[in-house]
């Protein structure tokens, strides 16, 4: 009897790739409970500051880029540029608009980033692929230059940096590690929910249609150029908020240099490793990219006992990342999230696999 059931399950698993994921409301509730309650109680400052906050912000940035690149198929290497816009705009709003509440400043910073993203997305109507990527590269360098060149943006500070203004909500200070962690987590949870809504909606389908074949998308009545610009705007909104959180919840003090091209590549790697066109993939990719250096560090210490210097270990990391990116592009373009999915499917039928 058991064998028959197993056989049936197995034969269903041989069916072609199914794109529907079962939802796990209980698992999700548990995850949120752990994230909102258990981690702030149990995690020490090091964990919150150095691991969880950057992980969450990078996930959010990955999510923003994934909406543009993974879902709409418009490759961008200017992600960090739009993060910078969000950070500097939020800073400016908090500084110059008296009494503006933090959430409003964050949303405002995001909207300003979205507007700029939309502007830089206008060329996408005419140019595609590699050439479009070059315009995003131009955006990256242009934005970085603007925020380094004009002192108005960093309030004429002699250091050229912006630092976390009053981080408070309804009179509660969010300056402690737990406060900054909860601020980041709330933003990430809210924006992830919005992203899930979006990619399952007609908007998301229009984006994916443009990604898969834009000429056909136009023929069936999708305003291709408008949806490309929308993708640039929404993506930049996410990146803008991620940038503000990176500057104020994680770094504390940031400058234009905190959002250089290397950051853009880091975010691109997150979505390549995690999975293009996947929401969960951003979290997997960000976890991988923020935990890998720590793991390598510890592994290096343990293996070589301090005989190898830190600089060498850093180089080793870069080599490892480079190799992984190549492996992923060749072997699993759908990223880690696909590997996890495959593993889960395999475990479900284990050990009775036919």
């Amino acid at each position: 009897m058991t064998t028959t059931t197993a056989r049936l399950t197995a034969s269903f698993d041989d069916a072609p790739l199914t794109l529907v994921r079962r939802r796990w409301p209980l698992g999700l509730a548990l995850l949120l409970l752990v994230a909102f309650v258990a981690l702030p109680l149990l995690g020490d400052d090091y964990w919150l500051n150095a691991i969880l906050i950057p992980f969450l912000v990078l996930s959010l940035a990955g999510l923003g880029l994934n909406l543009l690149t993974g879902y709409t198929g418009q490759t961008s290497v200017g992600a960090a540029g739009f993060m910078a816009v969000g950070a500097f705009a939020t800073y400016g709003l908090l500084l110059r608009v008296p009494g503006i509440p933090l959430p409003l400043a964050l949303v405002g910073g995001g909207l300003i980033a979205a507007f700029l993203g939309m502007l830089f997305g206008i060329p996408s109507a005419r140019i595609k692929g590699f050439y479009l990527m070059v315009t995003t590269l131009a955006a990256q360098f242009f934005i970085e230059w603007v925020f380094a060149k004009f002192p108005w943006f960093y309030n004429y500070a002699s250091s050229g940096t912006i630092s976390a203004p009053r981080l408070e909500l309804f009179g509660y200070s969010l300056a402690s590690p737990v406060g900054r962690y909860l601020l980041t987590l709330s933003c990430v949870v809210l924006l992830t929910w919005v992203a899930v809504n979006l990619v399952r909606s007609q908007t998301g389908r229009n984006w994916m249609a443009i990604r898969d074949m834009d000429t056909a998308a136009a023929v069936i009545g999708i305003p291709v150029d408008r949806y490309k610009r929308l993708a640039f705007a929404v993506s930049s909104f996410y990146l803008g908020i991620a940038g503000a959180l990176w500057a104020f919840a994680y770094l504390g003090t940031a400058s234009a240099g905190s959002f250089d091209i290397n950051r853009s590549f880091q975010i691109l790697f997150i979505i390549i490793i995690g999975g293009m066109g996947s929401i969960a993939g951003n979290f997997v990719g960000a976890a991988f990219i923020s935990l890998m250096p720590i793991f390598l560090n510890h592994a290096g210490q343990w293996l070589f006992g301090g005989n190898v210097d830190a600089g060498q270990l850093q180089n080793l990391q870069k080599i490892l990342f480079g190799t992984l990116i190549i492996v992923f592009l060749i072997k699993e373009p759908e990223g880690l999230v696909r590997l996890v999915g495959n593993l889960r499917d395999r475990l479900r039928t284990w050990p009775l696999r036919f």
């Binding site: 007609q202 999708i222 929404v234």
Partner: protein, 256 residues
Amino acid sequence: MSTLLEVRNISLSFKGVKAISDLSFAVRRGEICALIGPNGAGKSSLLNILNGVYRADAGELVFDAERLHRPHPLTAARLGIGRTFQNNALFKNMSVLDNLLTGLSRFQRSFFIEQALGLPRARREARVFAERAEQVLEFLELQPWRDVAVGSLAYGLQKRVELGRALIAQPTLLLLDEPMAGMNAEEKQEMSRFIADINRDLGATVILIEHDIKVVMDLCAHVVVLDYGRKVGDGTPAEVQANPDVIAAYLGTVHG
């Protein structure tokens, strides 16, 4: 029956090579019209002009008693001109259901922000869209593949999904570019049945390109024959079959 589409003196050339020259014909509302002719006769180019992918060098199109100014794929879709392609143009990484749903974009009324926040109007619209997609899935007998990525489907099924994606938009005029290419006899019969049903039950006017003369004769009341971008025959299947110019186009003229 009234005229739905009128093609008047259309010409098209690619870098000096004439693809279509001075072509005129009319399609009546509610008929199935076949475009036939040897390879390179300009059939696909004509469909591309009809839904605005190409711009004709000369001539005009009258659709639903209105002249089409500056046709564009988007405006054509909004006017209710649906289209399938010779080599399937599906969204490969999306499921069958999602592919069908993309066809409803011209009916989308809720703003993206409503969809992003899951507001009532967006949710209601999504429900209506989903119902309509299920109807099309049922009509085309595609339910078993509902959640399967289109890229992994067999060719014949992909053709059916593409038909469904055009169909779900409730087109007034449906342009089908070789809907039965590469199919076996049984699949062709099935596809013919779907096309006949769409025409009869949904009242869509159909223009289709097809090479299988038997299929054309069975399915269509009106046949337009093209050769080297010119019209060589226009009439009922029987008329066209008896037309010496058509026979010449297909079999070659007897020289001597």
